[in-house]
């Protein structure tokens, strides 16, 4: 399978990355080179093989159902949460208007 300019433009849009025309043209052969190379995986017989889900067997834990059990990830830290926001306004994350 190979990708064309329109496909790369669609992928870039899905990935929310603005890509200019020239950059798009340059990316097509690069991505096709990589995709052609990974294509060799198709020759591996995977009949009856389960896809890997965990490299080291482990079980998912549940934390205790306690509010603010870890103060760092609990509530009441609005200032910290907003400290690195490029546009924090009135205690919220500011974004461009999304409703007309």
């Amino acid at each position: 399978m190979s990708v064309d300019t329109a496909t790369v433009a669609r992928i870039a849009s899905l990935a929310r990355i603005k890509v200019g025309e020239a950059e798009l043209e340059a990316m097509v052969p690069e991505l096709n080179g990589i995709l052609a190379w990974v294509e060799q995986l198709g020759e591996v017989d995977v009949t009856g093989i389960e896809p890997m889900t965990a490299v080291i067997e482990n079980h998912l834990r549940l934390r205790d159902d306690v509010i603010d059990a870890d103060p760092l990830t609990g509530g009441g830290v609005r200032e910290s949460v907003l400290a690195n926001a490029p546009a924090a306004e009135h205690g919220f994350f500011g974004v461009p208007k999304v409703i007309e």
């Binding site: 929310r16 990974v38 093989i49 890997m52 949460v81």
Partner: protein, 495 residues
């Protein structure tokens, strides 16, 4: 008197504890080396000399008060810029995180500070840990302190992604540094610069507070001058963390105390599929030499087969970009980091402009590959197939470990290459991780130790891969090689 900056972790820890010198003297010596090398090597993105002095004063005060100093007491280290450090800029070497000062400390870095270590600064790296030469950093290339013996001054790659870490340790800017390894990012730079580095079993070190690249592969580990120093630092870094869902709930072994280079009764596997076309002759010769060293240490060497080896790298370049495209979706210009808001742009346009301005070319390339292989209609052909192949690769190792205790292989197919030599060909760059990636895909502990110099006077590394949880077996085989290689070469100071 021996220069303090020639000392490693164990020597500094013991010297501070024994009163031969103070932790502050050590920190000052390394701070001076860091400052003197910054313009030429560019190993650090941010230096934190005051933090190093402050930690050293605390260690000296504890010693004066007769209190225990910790496993890393008095040892100043470099911190890869992938670890969140409270109040100190953490960027993953990206523009999109420039200026980001975390409000929290990563588990691994906190453990190191709790063990008495101090921070010399945040180390440069490949952007979001994507790269094998440290040429994708937004903050410029790291230059290896090594040069070829031909008298030329061609600047060489320190390896990647932990290229700031490898350059800094080999240039004696710090006795040890943290690294992270997703597909070889501790081992390959360690090999390129003549130092040691170990990636433990997946889950040994908490990923909490480490900027995520490919979560099923990312694992932190130490980079230092020798095997003992790696063992000490890994003890300080490892341990169960409830904040990481994949953290292993196991006690941390006393790896340093368990070091033993006597390999009698041990079996070492040599995988025949790793003898690939195009591998450098010097690399193959060092591998043969390594086999002899391990035999000399008492081990029995056995020819083994890992039949799916050639598929590891292509599987990795589906799985890792897929996870990266998902992990890096968080950089949206809203909650932290860069925002690019063109005039009149709506929210979607702001996302796209921010990510276009904030990510470098290699990061974009991998996000696009990842987005493509996860997209509707292609998911099964690419991603599911790659995860099935990954199961087969892990099974190859499991079968091999029914016969052998550890596996010996080269770390990388070449010695360090020149900066700029590979950047125009992403695939050629990816192939440099061909020997490192299989152990990553299987979550196994693996380390690189220096084996010698090639005909150009550049370091070569040997890699030891172990069973899950058997870091001790890996370290011990590494120690056996270290003792026989007698590697004392270091880059001659030109910076």
């Amino acid at each position: 008197m021996t220069q303090l900056t020639d000392l490693g972790v164990a020597a500094i820890r013991d010297g501070v504890a024994g009163g031969q010198f103070t932790a502050v003297e050590v920190a000052e010596a390394f701070n001076a080396n860091v400052a003197a090398a910054q313009a030429a090597l560019n190993a650090f993105i941010v230096t934190t000399p005051d933090a190093a002095i402050e930690a050293a004063r605390a260690t000296d005060a504890r010693r004066a008060a007769g209190q225990p100093l910790g496993k890393m007491g008095g040892v100043p280290i470099g911190m890869k810029d992938l670890f969140a450090t409270r109040g100190v800029q953490t960027t993953a070497a990206s523009h999109i995180l420039e200026g980001f000062k975390p409000e929290y400390e990563s588990t691994v870095s906190q453990k190191l500070w709790d063990a008495g270590a101090g921070m010399l600064g945040k180390l440069n790296m490949d952007q979001f840990a994507m790269g094998s030469s440290n040429e994708t950093s937004y903050f410029g290339n790291v230059v290896s302190p090594w040069r070829r013996s031909d008298g030329g001054n061609a600047p060489l790659a320190p390896g990647g992604s932990s290229g700031g870490s490898s350059a800094a340790v080999s240039a004696r800017l710090c006795p040890a540094a943290t690294g992270t390894d997703t597909g070889g990012s501790i081992r390959q730079p360690a090999a390129f610069t003549g130092i040691s580095g170990i990636k433990p079993t997946y889950g040994r070190c908490s990923r909490w507070g480490i900027v995520a690249f490919a979560s099923s592969l990312d694992q932190a580990g130490p980079m230092a001058r020798d095997v003992r120093d790696c063992a000490i630092m890994l003890e300080a870094m490892a341990g169960f963390d409830p904040k990481d869902a994949t953290s292993l709930n196991l006690p941390v072994p006393e790896w340093e105390a368990g070091l033993n280079a006597d390999l009698r009764g041990k079996k070492v596997g040599v995988p025949r599929e790793y003898r690939m076309d195009g591998t450098d002759a010097d690399v193959l010769a060092s591998w043969d030499q390594g086999i002899e060293w391990l035999k000399d240490a008492g081990a029995e060497v056995i020819d083994i087969s890992l039949p799916h080896t050639k598929y590891a790298l292509p599987a990795y370049y589906i799985v890792a970009p897929a996870e990266a495209s998902s992990n890096l979706a968080r950089y949206d210009g809203v909650r932290y980091g860069l925002r690019d808001l063109p005039d009149g742009a709506n929210l979607q346009e702001m996302y796209a402009a921010t990510r276009a301005a904030g990510f470098g070319a290699e990061v974009k390339r991998r996000i696009l590959i990842g987005t493509y292989v996860l997209s509707a209609g292609f998911y099964d052909a690419y991603y599911t197939q790659a995860q099935k192949v990954r199961t087969l690769i892990a099974r190859d190792f499991k079968n091999a470990f029914a016969e052998v205790d550890v596996i010996l292989a080269p770390t990388a197919p070449t010695a360090a290459f020149g900066l700029g030599d590979m950047v125009s060909d992403p695939l050629a760059m990816y192939l440099n991780d061909v020997f490192a990636v299989p152990a990553s895909l299987a979550g196994l502990p693996a380390m690189s130790v220096p084996a010698g110099l090639n005909r150009e006077g550049l370091p070569l590394g040997l890699q030891i891969v172990g069973k899950p949880f058997d870091e001790q077996g890996v370290l011990n085989a590494g120690l056996a090689i270290e003792g026989r290689a007698g590697f004392t070469a270091k880059p001659e100071r030109w910076w």
